[in-house]
Symmetry: D4
Subunit: 215 residues, 8 copies
């Protein structure tokens, strides 16, 4: 069964229950992003086995085993980037990728990153999440030869303009091999990384396919 994913933020409890019911009856695994704890509680009443990760704000309901293969390295600049990074991590895991986390390797202390770079290089794909100046992605891309997905976060203040500064930094990186997703879009970073990782490892069972419904 192809897994199913949807965006909870603008949906009423009634809409969510209806979607879950349909997916569950068809035997699919289900992932809901940007879910509030209230939405979780409303669904929990009906679907006892639903899981909720509060940091990532992700709901999951699993009916099939997910074999996780390959490897995605997930790096963050600071503590504040973790919620967005976890959204990416859980999404990638849901789509059958192994994820190794390297949190708090931001460039203010470049040696923390350099200490781990040999491990990071082993991954098939790298996600670099950072707010404020957002320079992490460029540094990593200058050190590895794997695809780097840059994930700007809205962490920061003043002239960070809610992630715009990090986004621009990442788009303008002079290091090669970086591609960028929307500010705070952990979901798409995880999804895109999982798709590439699945192709490299030639595993197609859970490979992310177009849902045509993420809205």
């Amino acid at each position: 069964m192809h897994p199913k994913l949807f965006f909870c933020e603008c949906k009423t409890d009634e809409q969510l229950i209806k979607i879950f019911k349909t997916c569950i009856e068809s035997g699919q695994n289900v992932l809901g992003t940007r879910a509030s704890i209230m939405q979780y509680q409303a669904l929990k009443v009906i679907f006892k086995d639903i899981q909720y990760n509060e940091t990532a704000k992700i709901l999951t309901f699993l009916q099939n085993d997910i074999e996780q293969v390959g490897e995605i390295a997930l790096c963050t600049g600071g503590t504040g980037d973790i919620p967005v990074a976890e959204e990416a991590a859980l999404t990638a895991e849901f789509y059958g990728s192994k994820v190794k986390r390297y949190y708090d390797v931001g460039i203010a202390g470049i040696h923390r990153l350099l200490d781990k770079i040999d491990d990071i290089k082993q991954a098939n794909v790298i996600i670099a999440a950072a707010g404020m100046e957002g320079a992490l992605a460029g540094i990593i891309a200058g050190l590895v030869d794997k695809p780097v997905i840059a994930l700007p976060t809205s962490v920061g203040y003043g002239a960070s303009f809610q992630g715009l500064s990090a986004l621009l930094t990442m788009l303008n990186s002079c290091a090669e091999g970086i591609t960028v997703v929307n500010i705070d879009n952990g979901y798409n970073a995880g999804y895109s990384a999982a798709r590439i990782n699945a192709m490299i490892t030639s595993v197609t069972a859970n490979r992310p396919r177009a849902n045509g419904c993420y809205a």
Copy 2:
């Protein structure tokens, strides 16, 4: 020999000649992006076998055969996007990827795209280049399950703001699996696509590696 790449735009003829000389002596293939025809003519005097593609503004000097493997599908919205697309194409080919071009499949005539979508789906990676509204990348990503690299171009006028509109469209796409590069950055689109393609086809001979010198 690992191939060598550099950015010509801000360099003097003297700087270019020196870089070429070093690369050629070391037996590398060389690629120069954003080269003017005047720069080409200055280099031609010294390096007889240098090639120049005027549309893509790319210089090449090849000393080793490049085996092109796998497949990248390169789609553009309109005629005006071709120069940036060709920069991507030649870069990817330089790094050992086969490139299939699908030009002028923009969304104003969606059936031109739909007619070719089954071919496009065969590629390992897709590059979608578009200016103006930039919606092409999202449409394609909704139809395929391969990595899509969105390449916004500065084609347009008025509120296109030199590619900003296309960039925002691509970043905000609700279709999944899209990642984005800088406006008019054909080079990075081609490089990133080639890196992913090389990993999927498990060919490492020309796989793009960090040069640490693209500036």
Copy 3:
């Protein structure tokens, strides 16, 4: 009696009651947009027959039958666009147009749209409401030969910049025949569509006329 319309958002209960009283006494139909549920409750005490649509945040008080003629097709990209779309729908209906809703035909799943495009083509005017990347309007305009009114919504996050991304996409569309209204301005989309529809169907009874008071 020419119908009457006003904007509730910045008005006190006292101001609203006074306006309603004047309109009702003169025998007009009345439409109030952007009304809060609290404003509705305050008015309900005095005007028993007042109606409130909570999704669209629209108040109506009808004293004359509204014959609905012609046809407006109202399309949305996703679930989140429905409140703005309903504001457009109720406004157009208030001004004597039939409205057919095509919700959730966004471009991430282009086939949902293509399945319905023959129906959509039957309308005199089309409203295309979308947030995030906002590409829906351009796709539709490439497929039909009727006037398309593009209605950007503030649905999205990160670089959607509260609807700016969708607005720019729509303004820059290379498909022809699109005109655009302000972000989240469902009212004006509905009003403008109704005016065109009324002229095409040559029905003038409820044709939107300048009120000179929408502020």
Copy 4:
């Protein structure tokens, strides 16, 4: 034969000649926008009967009579808006609409506009072109009950930001029934107006249809 339209700005002489040849052989009327005088001269050598309007920068090659019906009122704020307005006018005429020009009725002298408003009201559709503050569209929309297409121009300096100020003014108008096109996009204003006018007059012979090729 359905008429054919294309955008000349990014095209080489070779590309233009090829497009013209195809259209002419198929017996179509052809309209080319944003054509330079050099492009005209290159085409003139081959296609003797080609016409060029230097103000509007429009090329036409007519093989079929165009019957012009209905009426579009085309208003401009100042002298500087005329080139964009003429692009709109010629496009609308090409698609079978009568166009009545009201130039230089900008709001700095409101009485010039008020003197002509009764004439303007007779049209089926109104195009209001203005740069700088761009208030003309809102004033007109407050005085008539026909569809108003607002066409912002890049005329102005300083904080006009190349038409952005006029664009925002038009999007934010509190007068009803205004829809907006891109800055300096005379072509789309003319095309959209002609489409509405054709529907109202029920003439379909030259009614603008989707070309799927304006790029």
Copy 5:
């Protein structure tokens, strides 16, 4: 005694009390802008004769008669602009100017403005407050030959960008004799108008002088 004015928004109750005490002891009239109702209540306990205007959010404590001379015409586009306009009005009155209010003469219904323009022309100075498209100031300036102070307000939504659209409209007006103040800065509009009015009427008693303390 020269009157005293200050900005309450960032001040603690303790700071306000101290400032009031100093002013009152020196026999001055005092005006406080942007005061919350809570600040008023805290001051009321100590200064019994303090006055508060809730719409304008202005505190006044008068110890000297204010003779109001000359005339300022204060026009607004809509109901939502009234709070900012009242801030201007009370400030100008505090500085010895007569103020005549013309509320709700926005351009959506130009005749409401034209009906009153002969009265407005009698004033020495005109303040035109408007949000959304902000075209009111330009229209008035095209009809009168007195100084026009344009006061953009943050009323609006979507692409009004919290008053930016109105501000740009006013700065770009092609009508002559308009000068502009900051968004929602009713205080400075009133102050500047009062200064000009005082000079014209040659009354210097309450003429606004630099306080050097409005921060």
Copy 6:
């Protein structure tokens, strides 16, 4: 005869000649702003007595004496602001105001300004022209009690954003009594200052009146 003013920038020689002819025949004084030297030369052939100021880019043709009364103080921050300032000066003089120039009193050397502030205070109105940081207007307004018209110029580089920085500084000044005109709009600064000065000095002969034609 009321004087006549127009904007030359977008006008053809033919249009200019026609306008001049009409004005001259009616006996008016004429002022043309933003005129190129080529436009001057074309007009000079026909109108021998036309004058041209190359710094201010202003054309004048005087048929009536202009009595200059009152006083406007015109201050600039630096040398680069002089062309815009001269546009203001010549406009104000054309409309019957005396202008005293205080050039190069920018805030980098505050004492140059303080040395002259007593003279500046004697004027009826002050124009403060500055680019880059644009702080001059605020400093002056903190030192005088006359109306201050702030004139931002596009002088600067980098983050001056063509005058945007100076414009924002002036709009946000915490000194009172400042109103602002568009970037580089020397004409409107001069016109507005002349209007206020004329009212204060009660001279109406050349008082700027609405032309309704500055476009």
Copy 7:
């Protein structure tokens, strides 16, 4: 022991407690910025000797004496800038600098600044904090020959755009010797000033060193 500093804003109580425990056990002085009163209360339960400055939102836990040497002059434009200024002051003091405060010397009353300029000149480094127009830094830099660190604050409204106006003013200052930090970044202003001051006074005991952990 080198002192330790961290940013509290995105951290949970658990994370803060853990960081404090580690620092305290290693005998370091600790500074936490952007701490809420709730965070303080949670930490107070465990670490009795923790101090909290509510204005600056700074936590300190001192285990070693801090000798304060040299001198930093800290100037603010208005009352609203004090919280950001205090963040700078406490940071600089924590790193061993003497700080002299000159609050409320904004440019609306330039003489308050001039009265104190001779004192300000005695400092080794000057911090100039200002919101709204932000001109203070430029004025001071024109009067002294010491390094000036400009600290824009988000105080203001309308077109101050949350500190953007002040930031641009400071970046564009034509006075020399100014460098700028992020909007509201009192911490970095204090830290940078302390580093320069420490080098000038040749005291290295508490000289700010890279922590590599401020995120």
Copy 8:
């Protein structure tokens, strides 16, 4: 004699000659920034000993020896940043600082920077010039404990927005001790660094003092 500095960009040859003459007669050293080669040639005719650096666009006329003390480390990201960096270098040298250049140590190849970081650490002040993503300043600040002056350049394309991206990166750096100057403002970076360096080395002979004339 205190040295003299001025900005050549907006000045006529006559103005430049006059300024030079005055300075030379008073025995000062003179530095002119942003001078074109044409300006140099015009001055050369009169002042034979004038020097011109074409890369930095700097004119110098030295009449007194300049002793260069202390040390400033000047780092750039790429080749394109060199002109702006040289403006900084020559300015700092003119004001009596030794400058050590570290060109092309951008972060795409972090090891080139790490190889030299021990040398860089020896300087009293560091200038980090970079365009595109601008991450260099933050990396350096995370590795050294000296004042870092970040100098954003306009090198780049697309979403670099003429240096805005680099500027934002630098302002938002989470590394401590960075302060920022305007885009491409090499002069102010060099001046500010020289001022700090002079204070640290306690040499006052050429210490940069306020000129009050850089406009």
